[in-house]
Symmetry: C2
Subunit: 116 residues, 2 copies
Amino acid sequence: MPKFISNNKVYYTPVEYVLSKVGGTYKMPLLWRLKDQGKRFSELKNSFERISDRMLSKSLKELVDDQFLAKKVFAEIPVRVEYHITEKGKRAIPIISSLRDYGFQLINEDGIQIEP
Amino acid sequence: MPKFISNNKVYYTPVEYVLSKVGGTYKMPLLWRLKDQGKRFSELKNSFERISDRMLSKSLKELVDDQFLAKKVFAEIPVRVEYHITEKGKRAIPIISSLRDYGFQLINEDGIQIEP
DNA sequence: CTGCATCCCAGACGATACTG
DNA sequence: CAGTATCGTCTGGGATGCAG
């Protein structure tokens, strides 16, 4: 097996590396919501049924730090902040798209109820 | 947003559901290793540089419970156990394949050293 | 050989309160 | 409006030891 080192952390598989970047509950759903146009913090917050400010803020910050997203701050009062997908982020979209499709397929196969 | 309920747990996105099934450090790499032929516990263990018996056992068990893998026990002494991918498991392979490709691409973009 | 039991830790995530 | 701070909980994962 190969072996990748980044930030003093060792990864043993490419899948492990990808998930360390865009895994977790919110990162891919966030990129997906931003794939076509920028959105502001509150828009993103309202697009999830439940997400704490903390997790939204933390997830966005990490995506910005890893260059999947860019942050634009407008010096208005009250401030307006917009998040946009970057070129790097766009390269993740096809993967997220197929993961989503597969997700719906799995949900179907597993006979899971979708609540209205 | 839709909303899925399975085992008294609520999922809000298809991605979240997929990752609950095949996410984590080992599940996709395990399915990948089993895509073409069955392997036994010890073979799988040796194919990872480091993995505890506990995590290998736990990951395999969950994949079997969720029908991505099937387990065959041979009543020999000492026992031999083989794991095979199922039809359901095979449907995950294309996704894992593209995630892997994307992983290598990301590792490249990020300029990460691959250790020999 | 296979794999469970136990103990432990770090990190993910939630809830609430507070600020520029 | 867009966060940060703090605290608490739960799970993923590692280490070790034992068992059929």
